[in-house]
């Protein structure tokens, strides 16, 4: 199975102490390494207002992880852990590799298009650049 990219966000109760967050992230890291996954990015967004009430909380600590893995079981295990973990009030895993593939494709196509275009537009661009180059020199003279 080829490598897949996942986004994992989970929300903790706003009163969760720092050590508990560290403990939880550590266990998650262990699970990830067990399944030969990689953490691409890890961010703590801090306490944010929730758009709606989640288990009677209006705020929550957001933690974002970007993961790469070839093992689908990893996500299953991570979600199980998050479900069981007491301070976690919400979590979401999204598979993003296909969208990233599409994005890369589109970027490549656009670059190709841009690379093709200058050949036709180069003479006018050079002509346009020349007058502008003259203008600044003309303005100090006057």
């Amino acid at each position: 199975m080829e490598e897949r990219l996942y986004d994992l966000i989970f929300i903790l109760r706003p009163a969760t102490p720092e050590e508990e967050i560290a403990k939880l992230t550590h266990t998650l890291e262990q699970v990830i390494s067990e399944h030969h996954g990689k953490i691409e990015k890890q961010e703590n967004w801090g306490t944010k207002r929730l758009a709606y009430r989640v288990s009677k909380h209006r705020e929550g600590i957001f933690i974002y992880l970007s993961l790469k893995s070839t093992d689908g079981e990893m996500v299953k295990e991570l979600e199980r852990r998050l479900k069981v973990a007491e301070p976690v009030i919400k979590y979401q895993t999204i598979r993003l590799d296909e969208e990233m593939k599409l994005q890369k494709k589109l970027v490549a196509r656009r670059e190709k298009k841009i690379a093709r275009r200058p050949r036709r537009q180069a003479p006018p661009a050079a002509a346009a650049a020349a007058p502008t180059g003259e203008q600044p020199s003309a303005t100090p003279a006057t």
């Binding site: 929300i11 929730l50 758009a51 709606y52 929550g60 969208e99 994005q103 970027v107 656009r110």
Partner: protein, 147 residues
């Protein structure tokens, strides 16, 4: 009094007469506004709307991109053509984590704004829709905000 009454009815026919020659051009007008307004149905709505607009520009006094200006005098309901903001910025992936940005495409109560309001192209609207739904799931955007 009857004379005075006769005068106003007489006046409308006069403007109506010049309007009559423009009848044929006005006929495609509602049709072209159809794809623009109801473009949310077909993804080719804006593309289909373009050719007739160009034709009218060529036939009309304005011509080309000046057409809108020329039409403004004739028709007061002309609105500035909306452009897809994501196409302008050349966005290839709409990030569901940017809640601030997604907020612009959502009504106060949390509904997703239709394409006809925002001018987003069909492809980007599809991506946007997906992003908004993801953001909703993780409490970055409301499903329905209470007032």
């Amino acid at each position: 009094m009857s004379d005075q009454e006769n005068v106003p009815p007489a006046a409308p026919p006069a403007p109506a007469a010049p309007a009559a020659p423009s009848g044929p051009p006005s006929a495609p007008r509602p049709r072209s506004s159809g794809p623009g307004g109801g473009g949310d149905r077909g993804d080719r709505g804006d593309r289909g709307g373009r050719p007739p607009r160009d034709d009218r520009g060529g036939g009309g006094p304005g011509g080309g991109p000046g057409g809108p200006g020329g039409r403004k005098g004739k028709r007061q309901f002309f609105r500035k053509r909306k452009v897809c903001r994501f196409c302008v910025d050349k966005v290839d992936f709409i990030d569901y984590k940017k809640a601030e940005m997604l907020h612009q495409f959502v009504q106060d109560r949390g509904k997703i704004l239709p394409r006809r309001m925002t001018g987003t192209c069909s492809r980007h609207q599809r991506w946007l829709c997906e992003a908004i739904k993801r953001a909703r799931n993780i409490a970055l955007l409301p499903f329905a905000s209470e007032l």
